[in-house]
């Protein structure tokens, strides 16, 4: 009986450890994709807005001096 209880505890702890690893990997992946990302369809409007600012001359390349 004790051996069975020990097995159950071991299996439980193992499952917790695996669960933690899966959770941590998922958390890191999400964090990574929050920080770095490829511009996609969801970014298109922002991208278009910035490109339009360049096209219209509203934005000029930075050429030196103090940052705005």
């Amino acid at each position: 009986m004790l051996e069975t209880s020990g097995d159950i505890v071991s299996i439980g702890l193992g499952a917790l450890a695996v669960g933690y690893i899966v959770y941590e990997i998922d958390r890191r992946q999400r964090r990574l994709h929050e920080i770095w990302g490829v511009l996609g369809a969801h970014d298109e409007a922002r991208t278009a807005l910035l490109e339009k600012m360049v096209e219209t001359g509203e934005l000029q390349p930075y050429t030196g001096g103090a940052l705005p």
Binding site: E24, I25, R28, E34, W36, L39, D43, L59, P68
Partner: protein, 160 residues
């Protein structure tokens, strides 16, 4: 102005049109990431001198945040837009990648991310598919992170 301080293609060799446009959005939060960006901006500019850098000042950045409030707290944001030299079509879709530097809370993490950004753009400048390179790098980083967790039982800061 000296040649080395110029934005745009180097005057030393054949002049190539820039492949990227780099946009920096910074609404002015008093953050470690902002300080790191400002402290190292000149170096970043020199490293990316082939690409024009468009710095949205506080006013324009705040306007952008008002249109897209989900961006609040993620700035400084660095966006790299790939200029489609072949097509130059507005409807061809936009390509590139972005770095939400403001999500990094410590100056060490922000500096590492900025260095990795400069390295990635520099080493993939002539890549046929920069986005695929970025996706591959993110996958590798994800796997590396998983290995770190399994082998060391701890998670370090996120960077590529």
């Amino acid at each position: 102005m000296e040649t080395r301080d110029r934005i745009g293609p180097s005057q030393d060799g054949p002049v190539k049109p820039p492949r990227f446009r780099i946009f920096i959005v910074d609404s002015g939060w008093n953050s470690a990431a902002r300080r790191v960006l400002h402290d190292n901006f000149e170096l970043l500019r020199q490293l990316q001198r082939e690409s024009p850098i468009y710095f949205l000042g506080r006013e324009r950045s705040v306007e952008l945040m008002r249109i897209y409030p989900a961006l609040v707290g993620k700035d400084p944001i660095i966006r790299v837009h790939i200029i489609d030299r072949g097509k130059q079509r507005r409807n061809a879709g936009f390509h590139g990648f972005r770095l939400h530097l403001g999500l990094l809370r410590t100056s060490e993490d922000a500096l590492l991310a900025l260095q990795n950004f400069a390295k990635f753009v520099g080493t993939h400048r002539d890549s046929a598919n920069l986005e695929a390179d970025m996706r591959a790098k993110l996958r590798r980083e994800g796997l590396q992170g998983a290995l770190e967790i399994v082998l060391q039982g701890e998670a370090h800061g996120v960077s590529i």
